[in-house]
Symmetry: C2
Subunit: 390 residues, 2 copies
């Protein structure tokens, strides 16, 4: 994929920089995006409006030449790296090689990501190179707007995600209930067992994932609790799956809440209100609307139903206690924000809509879809049904 | 686990720093080690010889208090974070909060990891805090020496690894051969299919993994090629598995090379010589020996057998073209090095021994064990047999 980096070109021109320098492994999504290369250990990418150049270890040299989007690939070994390591240690040696590499490229001043490594920056500065952290999120802003190819990547990951959600729901549906606890194949059905099934299903469908949330009862009342232990009947179980395609590295993201057996009156009301909030948010999604407006639509529904939100009470620990959503791409959380300070939505933005309610005495309910903003509204990339009771 | 950070205390005293500051997610192993906390988004850890303090988002606050090793946990929200974001944007706001947090802790000068984020460092420096990258690898040196608990974590991951290797070998053994290609359940057996089986087996045994190598033929001749496509009979297949325990985050690492059917005379000789190199390296492992000496033992065997090594020819692209091994722990590649510049081995070091030979015309052969250095030698944590033909 050839990204449109014209906003970055403008930034470099406005700030008098010759280029944009990245020093990171491809686990850093900006590195992956700018370099077009997938490598497990840190390497250096120099982007200039004229061309992209990579500085890699000898081990990555052949792959970098054929797989990256760089016009030029050089090796650490091209700069007497071994001798420098012997004299100065590996980190200092690498920084000196980078300085020589920038000199070769005629580059005296670079912008760098906020999280560019301090050690490299200091060494480059000592050698007369200007290194300034880029503080306007220009690359993450560029990354927020997806090409058709990127949307297709998310769609593919979401297809695997729905298979995995189906596997989880099937486990819950097939379980029996004994003394209030779910039982499957003669053993208590645990959150860990459901997660294992989800993760195996994702692997069988070409996806990996960092974490999965299968949280029941009080666990579910903490939005970041990933859940553990036996699953109980008549309590809401939040299942939040955010896989990454192993081939493309793009993510999907979806949450459903299930209750095995009979949900309480309160949980049913929470579920209906949360689904209403989800639909209100979706109605608000269109180019020109802001993430803040979409978030406000959710707060409106919850507050009208009498639930606290962080808008009505910034210190509340129950009710709607997180943002409405976030961008999804190479990172599972990226631009744009769909929150109190959410920016304007544009066609090609891929975002989640995920209202939820939480209270340790009740548990948690969350419903999350993933959608792409289109020229005239949005397309929902989620087709999984929204049903509480299994 | 309570790590022994006395070397870090010495470093701070020697350099006149009040503390050691980390700003990273727990995917950064130094962050995980120093904080004892697992969080997916960046947070801040301040280590001082007196105590460890964490600065986290409200979402992580509850977990951080119960799960981290910090004596003190504070929230961004405790420092008017929302107002600062409104006025200055999220990154600058966070950096200002960190400055206020350091001020509260009475800290004016910190060491930080080489890869500490430049943007935060610059903001702290503008506010009068001294931030210096720590360039002597003191934390990675501390991390290299494992406690018994850490060795047990590696051992547990290695047990899962052996299950996965067994699953891969079984697939190769059960396959039939048609027109020189392996066939399993009516379809060509591909590297992707074997990797899927490995990864599912690891998941079923509590491990995740970043990547797996199943590489055949010319793919196997490039040590970083992960392999793809149909597996051919009579060619060496390198299977390199480096899983991470989902519970403890510690890694294991093992490689075996298999040939289905009849390996060529050359491949048999490579395999025998590589196993001889492995045994020679193991014989050299003991406290006081250096990683360089262990590496030399491997080079001696290969060079005596007429194979080029990077020691005999630094530019060779065939023969033994990588290091003998590396430390394994929270990172799959960490200290100590077992290479040309390998440092002295100490009890508690967990290292790989992984000699190999490569040539695009032949393929690749690699055999890798993982061992822990003990008071009087080493214990091999690997029990998987070393056999070429399946």
């Amino acid at each position: 994929m050839e990204p449109d980096l014209s906003l970055l070109d403008e930034y470099l021109a406005d700030h008098g920089h010759d280029g944009y320098l990245v020093d990171a492994a491809s686990t850093d999504s900006t590195q992956r995006y700018i370099s077009g290369f997938d490598a497990p250990d840190p390497f250096v990418t120099l982007y200039t409006p004229d061309r992209t150049a990579l500085l890699v270890s000898s081990l990555e040299y052949g792959r970098a030449k054929t797989e990256s989007r760089a016009e030029r690939v050089v090796r650490l070994a091209d700069y007497d790296y071994r001798e420098l390591v012997a004299d100065h240690g590996a980190t200092e040696a690498t920084a000196r090689v980078v300085a020589a590499f920038l000199d070769d490229e005629g580059v005296e001043s670079v912008a760098a990501p906020e999280r560019f490594p301090l050690g490299s920056a200091d060494t480059l500065r000592e050698r007369g190179v200007t290194v300034e952290p880029e503080r306007t999120d220009v690359v993450t802003t560029i990354r927020a707007t997806k090409t058709e190819e990127e949307v297709a990547n998310v769609r593919e990951a979401q297809a695997a995600n729905e298979e995995a959600m189906r596997a989880a729901e099937t486990l819950l549906a097939d379980a029996t209930v004994e003394d209030g606890t779910l039982v499957y194949e003669g053993e208590p059905l645990t959150a860990e067992r459901v997660k294992e099934e989800i993760e195996v299903t994702l692997l069988r469908n070409g996806c990996a994932l960092d974490e999965t949330i299968v949280a029941c009862g009080a666990d579910a009342a903490d939005p970041h609790n990933r859940g553990s232990g036996p699953i109980r009947a008549n309590e809401p179980v939040i299942v939040d799956i955010f896989p990454r395609s192993k081939a493309t590295k793009y993510h999907a993201d979806m949450t459903r809440t299930f209750a095995k057996g009979d949900a309480s009156e309160t949980v049913r009301e929470w579920f209906e209100t949360t689904d209403e909030a989800r639909r209100a948010a979706l109605d608000a999604v269109e180019p020109g609307a802001t993430g803040a407006e979409v978030h406000a639509a959710v707060c409106d529904v919850y507050e009208a139903a009498g639930h606290p939100t962080l808008r009505s009470d910034p210190t509340t620990e129950t009710g709607f206690i997180h943002s409405t959503g976030h961008g999804v791409g190479l990172d599972v959380h990226e631009r744009p924000r769909v929150s109190l300070d959410g920016e304007e939505l544009e066609p090609g933005h891929v975002i989640t809509i995920e209202p939820g309610l939480y209270d340790p005495d009740v548990g948690g309910v969350r419903i999350e879809d993933i959608v792409v903003v289109t020229e005239d509204g949005y397309e929902n990339l989620t087709s999984y049904p929204v049903e509480l009771v299994v």
